[in-house]
Amino acid sequence: MPLLDPSPIPVYHGNFAEDEATRLLWRAGFGPRPGDAERLARLGMEGAVASLTRPGGVARLIGAAPHDEHGNPLDPINTWGDDHCWWLDRMVRSNRQLVERMTLVWHSWFATSEEASSARLMIKQNWMMRRHALGNFHKLLLDVTVDPAMLLWLNGTTNYKGSPNENYAREMLELFTLGADRGYDQDDVHQNARALTGWTNDWNEGQGPVNFRFEPKLHDDGIKWIFGHRGHFNWRDSCRLAVTHPDHPSFLVRKLWGYFVGADIPPSAARALQRAYVHSGYEVRPLIEAILRHPLFYEGPRLVTPPVVWTAGLLRASRQTITTTSWAWIASLTGQVLFQPPNVSGWNYAQWLDTSRWAGRLEAVDVALQNHVLKGKTYPYGLTENTKEAYQHAIEFWGGRPLSDTARHNLLALGRRVAFGQNQTWEQVTFRQLRQNAFRNLIPMTPDWMTA
């Protein structure tokens, strides 16, 4: 029996070995742990994709629970930065890698920031998105529309009858369902805002915003015209009209594809996925299963790995878990703080690197190596180790993933330079430590390691 339903678009039939499995693990998860790519390659492509989209068994977190520098458990609701570390830990340890990755996709898609609410409401939203990770987009949109963090973020509870606030109404169409200026105009935005009225919340001195609810008397129940439809529309109608809008499937398919594949979607594949999406009643998993099997996923250009994915990957590759909350401020230097997207359009996946954020990633490596640089009077790999052996030891430290010849030659040249002329007895340990430490710092900074 086939593991997956037949794909409506072309399927990759090339070799599925460790390289392909590695790409799949970086794009549909948070990178391989040592041995993961080998294991996945043995499943074949269909089996590998199914293991991500239809994982069996019980969802669980594997490995040591996260804690701060002093061994204290995280307090994501009350302590600055612990919310970021809490989710980062799930990315590192979850046996539902694609569920976490899709939750990240929805976080960027419906980008909400805790600046307008609180970590408590953001984590609540995060669980909601996790429940819908590979589920139904229409249901997700309904839940997002009345999610407390979103209601605060885009003025859903200050959208008054008689004086509508267009904030959510506009972004819902522009960023979440249709795309800028596709099939709607300013009047649709205004009418949509009226349909979305009726939500409110109370304010509690201790807890902040509480008691989010729909109150019929606050809702503008008048006739609205949205996309040429006429009715006494409310927030549920607003979601339904957006999802059933003829320009929605093309927007969703193109945007979802872009999170996973570096090449543009071929028009025929886009059309086929749009049909499949509508036919399924707006289910997401069939689309993901088709995208992860498409030839361009494996043969197309590389993608820069997003900072938080790369950071989780550092820890997974080096068999580490969260043992410091430094990851919270590191995240801001690398350009991706969870629960704090830069704006409502989410992170810019096309431009992850510049001088500042490259330097930020080097600081992330610094933290990952906090207990893993070599020092002291002894050298664990022995004093006969040459540069090539040292290089291989460092590669193994980061999970064994080989680099391109260009990167390898660059690092070997550095290793030889460090070793050159180190003839004194007292130098034998120290130059090897320096060489090994330099390799460990630079391997995850190579273009090979930062892309997949």
């Binding site: 980008a111 307008a116 800028a180 570096g262 230097l333 991706q336 704006n343 690197l353 330097a359 550095l414």
Partner: protein
């Protein structure tokens, strides 16, 4: 020192629709001081000279003057070596070449509050709770029917001193009320959704060099889209004193060689056919140059990455002789102080871009955000201008202050304003034509959506900046430049 804890205090939603910027998050972390990472050094080794805390015990003297380095002898470094980065950089372009600074007031600044027709009954009718009261702020010299917002007093003073030009009704035809679309238009210098290069980026592609990332400097901790180039390198930093690059457990020559090696790998792969490889490699390559150039600006507090200016006097880190305002939000004053120091030190800048920490997207509770945000920008720019004058480099610098749109003339029901069309923009500098360019967009001539209509086209301002400030034919940079209007921007 621990990160700030106050960010978890429940607060009233401020009505942002696009939240605060990532750059603000970075600066908040940097300003709070990073938790120190324990490091140990092998006592038998030479004193660390490549990386780490000890390496940062440099003392950069008054920038542009002599530099002294604590323990330079032990480190095997000379002042001259430390100055090489800047010396090399300065050789690239003449010391008097012009610099354009773009300051983006993000979120859609309410022009009707910045310069208010306080005496107009229609204005008070449209703005029952938000109207600026007549007489509460300085009269606008170029048009007495307008009043500066009280928070913009520094702009009023600069304007009266002949150092600010005002565009009260800037925008473009068929305005788009989306932040992202409108901001994109301003960033790329055209009303074209598909353009991927910034307008200043394209200028740098015409006149810039393949070896100077400082020609296009973002000071937001990430590349500013106005500076996106097609071929020439640019750089992103936060402040010059916190661009820290070091390797854990690697010291001395090995550290220098390792960082050079990373830059060399970047050089080798930055032209890769794979765009992802090229993006990472390009950044690595540019880090090599930025690192060397900014070394003299590194501070002495033993905590690389943390600024050493005080909250009360952010310019102290850069030897500024003027006092910059203390920032209630973010660190715009410190970034501007750092910029003034870099200009005076001869860092080869051409185009610089900064974004305000404040989001001016005031859908609700407008007054709080607007008042503090505008005051910080105005006071910071006044200090920056004075700093440049004190350093004798003010003639080289022009600051362009802009926002993606103005706001709806009629306020909404949440003491805020929704997205509008035409808004206000400023030019600040010693050489500006310090009057009003264009005119106030009358409130009895609103467009179909109830927004002010533009009388100055921002693309025409870009053409005029290119031609009058840089002496560059605008046609090579701005699409359809020939059909766009020109404005007299300089005195």
């Amino acid at each position: 020192m621990n990160p700030p804890t106050d960010s978890r205090v429940p607060r009233s939603p401020e009505g942002h629709c696009d939240g605060f910027s990532r750059a603000q998050a970075i600066r908040r972390v940097l300003a709070s001081g990073k938790p120190p990472i324990a490091r140990e050094w092998d006592p038998r080794m030479p004193v660390p000279a490549g990386a780490g805390i000890d390496r940062r015990r440099f003392l950069a003297g008054v920038l542009g003057g002599a530099m002294t380095v604590y323990g330079a002898g032990r480190l095997g470094l000379t002042n001259r070596m430390l100055g090489d980065g800047i010396a090399h950089a300065a050789a690239i372009q003449p010391a008097d070449s012009p610099i354009l600074v773009s300051l983006f007031m993000q979120g859609g600044l309410d022009g009707l509050s910045l310069l208010a027709p306080a005496g107009d009954p229609l204005y008070r009718q449209l703005r029952p709770t938000l109207a600026v009261a007549a007489g509460s702020g300085a009269p606008f010299r170029a048009d007495p029917s307008l009043t500066w917002h009280p928070s913009a007093a520094s702009f009023a003073q600069l304007h009266n001193a002949g150092k600010v030009a005002v565009f009260p009704g800037i925008g473009y035809t068929s305005p788009d009320m989306s932040h992202f679309t409108s901001r994109h238009y301003w960033e790329v210098g055209a009303t074209e959704a598909s353009l991927l290069t910034g307008w200043m980026g394209r200028y740098l592609d015409v006149v810039g060099e393949a070896t100077n990332p400082f020609q296009g400097l973002s000071m937001d901790g990430q590349i500013n889209p106005t500076l996106a180039t097609a071929k020439n390198p640019t750089a992103a930093i936060d402040q010059p004193n916190n661009f820290a690059v070091w390797l854990n457990g690697v010291w001395g020559n090995a550290a220098e060689w390792a960082l050079d090696s990373a830059a060399a790998l970047g050089d080798a792969q930055r032209r890769s056919r794979d765009p992802a490889i090229a993006q990472v490699a390009g950044a690595a390559s540019e880090v090599g140059i930025v690192r060397r150039t900014l070394q003299p600006f590194q501070t002495t507090n033993g905590n690389p990455g943390a600024p050493s200016g005080t909250a009360a006097n952010p310019g102290a880190a850069y030897g500024s002789s003027v006092t910059y305002p203390a920032a209630s939000t973010g660190d715009l004053p410190a970034r501007l102080a750092g910029l003034a120091a870099m200009i005076a030190a001869g860092v080869p800048l051409r185009c610089v871009a900064l974004t305000t920490d404040t989001q001016f997207d005031t859908h609700s509770g407008q007054q709080t955000t607007f008042d503090a945000g505008v005051k910080l920008v105005a006071d910071s720019l006044a200090a920056f201008q004075a700093d440049l004058e004190a350093r004798g480099v003010d003639g080289r610098v022009l600051v362009h202050v802009w926002s993606e749109f103005g706001r709806r003339a009629e306020e909404n029901g949440s003491n805020g304003t929704d997205h509008g069309a035409a808004g206000a923009s400023l030019l600040v500098g010693s050489r500006v034509n310090a009057g009003m360019i264009g005119e106030f967009a009358p409130l009895n001539q609103l467009d179909a959506n109830g927004n002010q209509q533009e009388n100055v086209d921002f693309r025409g301002v870009y053409c005029s900046l290119l031609e009058q400030w840089f002496g560059q034919d605008a046609a090579a940079v701005i699409p359809n430049a020939a059909s766009l209007p020109r404005y007299q921007l300089l005195a």
